[in-house]
Assembly symmetry: C2
Homo-oligomer: 140 residues x 2
Amino acid sequence: MVDEVLELLRERGHRLTKPREAVARALLEAEDWLRPEQVWEVAHHYCPSVGLVTVYRTLALLEELGVARRIHLAHGCHGYAPAEMHHGHHLVCRSCNQVLEFLGTEDLAPLIAQVSRRTGFVVEEHLLELVGRCPACQQT
Amino acid sequence: MVDEVLELLRERGHRLTKPREAVARALLEAEDWLRPEQVWEVAHHYCPSVGLVTVYRTLALLEELGVARRIHLAHGCHGYAPAEMHHGHHLVCRSCNQVLEFLGTEDLAPLIAQVSRRTGFVVEEHLLELVGRCPACQQT
DNA sequence: TTGCCTGTTGATATAATTTTTCAATAAGGA
DNA sequence: TCCTTATTGAAAAATTATATCAACAGGCAA
């Protein structure tokens, strides 16, 4: 899994380094999306010397390679999820900020095709965020 | 238009102030979404003394009232659009960052209803972002 | 294996954006 | 008009992300 990413890096002419491996590993083993700083905490475990700056750089690189996906959060900072995990969309609770993934990408295909036809855009990815209140937070 | 917002503010127990009116006016007359600083520039025109901090506070308040909608942009900062304008979604060009609005909310209604039923979430708003390349940027 | 070239890194500084603090101000009811 | 208190604006602080640059290390060639 991580190996495939490292292989991809090499193919594209990037060097294989410990920091990059650590960041890739941290992201890929995530159960959920992580904020850059959280990625850093985990990556740190694999490569103690890794700096936060490199985490940012590597996440951007992984996004470019299609391995990571950037998520836009309600409160302004960014999160990243492994790309294959994020073929679903997310559901954010406005109160407790929990994020639930749900599937349903195929429902959007016709819409995307239509938009693409009308605007000339090549749509490379999409993000559907539903914001609301989870069952627990509705009771407040 | 602005009057309705002011009325809504009063109904909810908020005070009617020049800065709030200026921010509401700036946002409502926008052709497109604006970043907080852009809102400030326009609001400034209606209330020269208004500070950027108040713009942030008022935008948050307007969002709470359902008058403004927060938009999550690719590069991390936020933008706001009048709520009624933003019943469409947006299409972001990865290269030049231009944002196009497009309609199609009704297509999502069944999906939202289904998710709501399955998860127990009350979905209050949604955001669909398509990211890709605009016709001009495809040629690079 | 050794050495070299150059892509990468990490620390620091910097930038950009948003939030907090708090004294002064002004809205709106009495 | 007066009083209470929500609201404001300026400055400071916090947060998040990026730029700079000398030191380092990956990987190819010899």
